[in-house]
């Protein structure tokens, strides 16, 4: 028995030059009380399918064939949603009443001007014959059920006053308050941190049992699928590639696309040196300009040297960096309160030449603030950052292995300008980090122009080389960024960062905005570039599996504080700090034999320093420091 039965559904987009089929003849069923995962990369038509079920497709899209048969209750009749008018009374009753939907971005999905209570009780008032006080009562029950600690208070809060996790809980409350037979969840956890993701997945799972509803989960994360789905439907280019029970799919993937997808996801069980296989491989070519020149010859020499002795020279040294922000919360009504947020709290670490230093933490832990301080885009309150230059290292060694460093924070004007060539940045959002009004040629050439590197011929040659280096066709140079996909744009960002031939690159979540299939491409590219150009990376991410794939050493950051630093293998095999453990246990594996331990998901307590067990507890009155628990393995513990 199925709550929803989709038969030969077709959706087309009406474009200027004709019809574009987006969903081509797909069929699948959603049984009562089960979870069906719809998997695919962006552009595969999975979200369009969901919108078609809700009949809230954008104006340019229309259902051109097929049936969507809804049977909310085994004892009730069957309705073909595809035949209803999108704004008819009957369809409005089904929308929100029988089928409801939650979306990826909990902030954007809630109106910032209306209270949570208003937005939830609205659903009750729309679909049930109740007065407003009864609706408020139902809303309170629902808020309690989704885990709001104080439902009465939550009723009157605005979305921007809540954290991402609580916002998504509010969204779920709004979707489930009318007890629908089917919940359509479109990437419900993609925008959330791993620990929050685990909590939300657990919540959906629990509520599903309690309310006996079916779930259509749309996601590209095969780890999430393995943990929550009963059945899987894999979509590619608007067609169903493969479908079946989650066991069949994971134990015996048949379709090449699914196999490729499974191989493109970084996971913890990868053998040392194992490479991800992107769904679509890119070809890169290293040119002579990037390899030639004085600097890189030295680097080559150094590389040859480093083959003989272990590379343990320090490239960047960060000592006791503090940075606070004061939040002046001055509401128009009531008392003002001044709070001081320690965004970066006594952070010290060294990055070795040629290594990839991973920095892991959840949103708001201060990792981006730290990266800005490293670039001297933000001045810390105190602390020092020392950069060791390769040229100086060869010329001016004070003592063997000890080089003269550059005090980054003291740099001013021209010195700072020159220093910028050594350290570059790759941004998170490939869409907003490229100027839409500049051609690709101008974008990549801009650093060369600013720093007045070479003549025009050199610059043209360099830009072409950079394009080939990141696997893009130099013939596309006269195009604008909008004609490139997200992954291609991120590669353009990488090319721009490499234009000045820096030695040190800070990558701030470079793959978090990309699809899994594209993610593997970019990660492999970064990895190759690192070894070919002998680069040093700081790789910032909230995704442990990604950091595990690319980094050599990893630092875990929480509330502005580094809680654990260790070599990659050591950290994953032997995590010591409770926060690291919580993070690791919250990462969903794309493997049915390693389900998430949902009971271990502390309800948001894993990231509260005062709730950590001794000796890791941190309160404003305790002093903690990094203590070695093993060689090269440090953990933040209380000072006795």
């Amino acid at each position: 028995m199925n709550v929803l039965d989709i038969r030969n559904l077709k959706v087309v987009f009406q474009l200027h030059d004709g019809l574009l089929p987006v969903v081509r003849d797909i069929s699948f069923k959603i049984p009562y009380g089960k979870t069906v995962a719809l998997v695919g990369e962006s552009g595969s038509g999975k979200s369009v399918t969901a919108l078609a079920i809700m009949r809230i497709l954008p104006k340019i899209a229309q259902i051109s064939g097929g049936e969507i048969l809804l049977q909310p209750d085994p004892n009730q009749g069957v309705t073909d949603i595809a035949l209803l008018k999108a704004d008819s009374e009957q369809m409005r009753g089904i929308r929100g009443g029988k089928i409801s939907m939650i979306f990826q971005e909990p902030m954007a999905s809630l109106s910032p001007l209306h209270t949570i209570g208003n937005q939830i009780s609205e659903c009750v008032l729309l679909h049930q014959d109740v007065n407003s006080s009864q609706a408020t009562k139902l809303t309170l029950d629902m808020l309690d059920m989704v885990g709001f600690p104080d439902p009465n208070r939550a009723l009157k809060t605005f979305p921007f006053e809540l954290s991402g996790g609580l916002r998504q809980r509010a969204m779920i409350a709004a979707a489930l308050v009318c007890r629908p037979a089917l919940l359509v969840a479109d990437e419900p956890t993609t925008a959330l941190d791993v620990t929050i993701q685990a909590q939300i997945l657990k919540l959906i799972k629990d509520l599903q049992q309690e309310l006996h509803m079916a779930v259509l989960l749309i996601t590209h994360d095969l780890g999430v699928v393995a943990n929550i789905a009963d059945e899987v439907v894999v979509m590619y280019h608007g067609e169903v590639m493969e479908s079946g029970s989650v066991h069949e799919i994971y134990s015996n993937p048949r379709h090449p696309y699914l196999k490729a997808l499974l191989q493109a996801v970084p996971h913890f069980d990868m053998k040392p040196g194992e490479r991800l296989t992107p769904v679509r491989e890119i070809e890169t070519k290293l040119g002579h300009l990037l390899l030639s020149g004085g600097q890189s010859q030295k680097m080559q020499a150094q590389k040859a040297q480093s083959d003989t002795k272990p590379p343990n020279t320090i490239h960047l040294s960060v000592k006791k960096v503090f940075r606070t922000f004061s939040i002046r919360n001055k509401p128009l009504f009531g008392k003002s309160d001044n709070r001081i947020i320690r965004a970066v709290d006594d952070v010290s670490f060294d990055v070795l030449r040629g290594e990839c230093f991973g920095l892991v933490g959840e949103s708001g832990c201060g990792k981006t603030t730290l990266s800005k301080i490293l670039m001297k885009a933000l001045q810390p309150d105190s602390g020092s950052i020392t950069y060791f230059d390769s040229e100086q290292e060869i010329g001016q060694e004070i003592a063997p292995g000890i080089a003269l460093g550059i005090d980054v924070l003291a740099l001013e004007h021209e010195q700072l300008f020159d220093f910028r060539r050594k350290m570059q940045f790759i941004f998170q959002d490939p869409f907003s980090s490229l100027n839409p009004r500049m051609t690709v040629y101008d974008i990549i050439r801009e650093p060369l122009v600013i720093h007045n590197v070479g003549d025009r011929a050199y610059q043209v040659e360099m830009v072409k080389e950079l394009m080939r280096l990141v696997g893009l066709d130099p013939r596309c140079l006269s195009r604008y960024p909008h004609s490139f996909s997200g992954g291609q744009r991120q590669r353009l960002g990488i090319a721009r960062a490499l234009a000045l031939r820096p030695e040190f690159i800070i990558c701030d979540e470079p793959v978090s905005a990309l699809d899994v299939s594209i993610q593997a491409q970019v990660l492999n590219l970064l990895k190759d570039l690192q070894s070919e150009l002998n680069l040093t990376y700081i790789f910032i991410s909230h995704n442990l599996a990604v950091v595990d794939y690319i980094a050599d050493r990893i630092a875990v950051m929480c509330h502005g504080c580094l809680v654990e630093i260790a070599l990659k293998e050591e950290l994953f095999n032997n995590p010591v700090h409770p926060y690291t453990k919580a993070l690791l246990s919250a990462v969903p594996f794309p493997d049915l034999n390693k389900p998430l331990d949902f009971d271990a998901v502390m309800d948001g307590k894993s990231s509260v320093p005062s709730a950590w067990p001794m000796p890791y507890t941190q309160t404003p009155h305790t002093q903690t420091q990094l203590t070695a628990v093993a060689p090269e393995h440090y953990v933040q513990t209380q000072v006795a």
Partner: protein, 332 residues
């Protein structure tokens, strides 16, 4: 909220002080003063000028005093409601302006209401029916409205009003009511005449507002929360009113600050063409003849309106947008 209002009101004092200094400097900038241009005018008409009388007048009006003293006399006078003396009219500024000010404010307020009443439904319709024939037609009309110069529209409207409605040309009331005390008949006559200047002054503002409302609303209609509301099964009309329109209101309220002065200054040329007894034409002649206290008071009046308008829009924004009301700012 109370402390915020008080703070905002206190902030108005230095703002107005700086504006008053600027205004005074500007009206003093042209070489000479009212008396000099008056003498020049008399001489060009071949009349003799009594130097003693000029000297007496100069002393009387304090024109021989240094610049800063003149400013203080003017500024302190304004605090007492004494806006100075108009040379041209030989009357205190307050008496010259009084009645005109009332009519100016009336026309402005009616124009603003006219703008809103017309712009809102059309803007909403255009945004929710994007690229429909209705949208194209209304956009076309809007662009015509934007592109037509006010004075031209004024002349056309005057002609039409006279030919088809028999309304007397120009002015804000029938000739027999001018300088008469207010009465029913006078009010009726004013209302009868009012619609021409209101349409003339309001048209370009309305067209502009339609374009901006449409653009803002279109942006908001794309947002995820609209899809969410749709997924709840809300009716489209109700949905648009509750969510995107509410968001699009912000720009509109922020606009009030600049709306008041722009309506009033936009009305000036129109007022001259229509020979309306408002303040516009008077400001122009006052500036031309260097009737400094009159001009200065006008400019101060406009500045005052701007400051009040900004205050009103800030308070309204805080009242309707919880993000502004509740969110603290992050200090660097």
């Amino acid at each position: 909220m109370l402390s915020y209002i008080v703070k905002r009101l206190l902030l108005m004092i230095p703002t107005l002080l700086v504006i008053s200094i600027l205004v005074f400097v500007i009206i003093q900038l042209p070489p000479g003063d009212y008396l000099e241009s008056h003498i020049a005018e008399l001489q060009s008409q071949g009349e003799s000028v009594d130097q003693d009388k000029i000297k007496f007048l100069r002393q009387e009006y304090g024109l021989d005093k240094p610049f800063h003293e003149q400013y203080f006399i003017w500024a302190i006078g304004m605090l007492h409601g004494d806006f100075g003396y108009s040379f041209e009219y030989d009357l205190p500024v307050r008496e010259v302006v009084g009645n005109r000010m009332f009519l100016t404010i009336m026309i402005s307020v009616v124009t603003i209401i006219f703008t809103w009443v017309i712009a809102f439904p059309i803007g909403i319709y255009s945004a929710t029916h994007q690229y429909s024939w209705g949208d194209y037609g209304l956009s076309f009309l809007g662009f015509i409205g934007l592109a037509t110069p006010n004075f031209l529209l004024a002349l056309v409207m005057l002609y039409l009003a006279n030919v088809y409605f028999g309304t007397s040309i120009g002015g804000l009331m029938a000739p027999q009511y001018i300088d008469q005390p207010w009465s029913w008949g006078k009010l009726q006559s004013v209302l009868e005449h009012l619609w021409i200047p209101v349409i003339v002054i309001g048209t370009s503002g309305t067209a502009g507002m339609i374009r901006r409302l449409r653009a803002n609303l279109l942006d908001e209609l794309q947002k995820q929360y609209v899809t969410t509301a749709r997924a709840k099964g809300m009716k489209e009309n109700k949905l648009v009113r509750k969510y995107p329109l509410r968001m699009a209101l912000n720009f509109f309220i922020a606009d009030i600050g600049s709306l008041l002065p722009s309506v009033i200054s936009g009305a000036e040329i129109t007022a001259i063409v229509l020979s309306l007894p408002t303040t516009g034409p008077m400001l122009l002649t006052a500036l031309q003849s260097q009737d400094m206290y009159l001009a200065g008071s006008f400019l101060m009046f406009l500045a005052m309106l701007t400051v009040i308008g900004v205050l009103v829009s800030d308070l309204l924004l805080a009242a309707i947008d919880p993000r502004i009301r509740l969110q603290g700012e992050i200090a660097k």
